[in-house]
Amino acid sequence: MSDEALKDKLRGIIAEVSEVDEIPDETPFSELGIDSMMALEIVAEVERTYQLSIPEEELKDMTNFTKVYELVRGKLADAAE
């Protein structure tokens, strides 16, 4: 999957769970109205979609779109090795 395709898919997941239409790269989720429960829903959907496991201690780093994207991209790369 290309980086752009991954970004599009992740943006779609976040938008669907949060019901926020536009997910900018760097805007903190808190400013988009994405609360901690929605964030967990997003993680659950990302895990389900990509068959990944994201440890609890990494959740606190997923505070905006770029950080989610980088974390998922890294885990997919690790899984592909």
Binding site: S36, M37, L40, E41, V43, A44, E47, R48, E56
Partner: protein, 132 residues
């Protein structure tokens, strides 16, 4: 759906001035059903709070009131879990009086660390109890 059923008899205190069960009373009935459903799956909710240090607060409640219940009615609450994942557990219920469907509900709960008052991933014991 599930075979789990919880019985409750409507008390006078559950009713309102109109002589029917007050809408808020159903939430208490549903809570009782959830606690007993958990117990039936090996989760003692009081021990879960005390020993695991987590709680399952309600984050969303959808209730559709179809027909009224009245004082002294014997109600049967059928409850099952259609969704449990890292973020939430949802309990769906139907409240019956005999063959008459009175109420349908969807109650969603998150998992929180009680000492810190913050949300956390659903406890593995809860997931295991309903994913099997």
């Amino acid at each position: 759906m599930s075979d789990f059923r919880y019985s409750v008899r409507v008390q006078y205190v559950d009713t309102d001035q109109g002589g029917v069960v007050h809408h808020a009373a159903y939430l208490r009935f549903l809570e009782g059903a959830r606690v007993e459903l958990l117990r039936s799956r090996g989760i003692d909710y009081r021990r879960f709070e005390l020993e695991v240090g987590k709680g399952l607060p309600v984050t969303e409640a959808r209730v559709r009131y179809r027909r009224p219940a009245r004082f002294d009615d014997q109600l049967e609450i059928e409850t099952w879990v259609p969704i449990v994942n890292r973020a939430k557990i949802r309990f769906d219920s139907r409240i019956w009086r005999g063959d008459t469907l009175l109420t349908e509900a969807e109650i969603t709960c998150a998992c929180v660390l009680l000492a810190e008052g913050r949300i956390c991933s659903m406890d593995p014991s809860i997931r295991a109890a309903f994913e099997r």
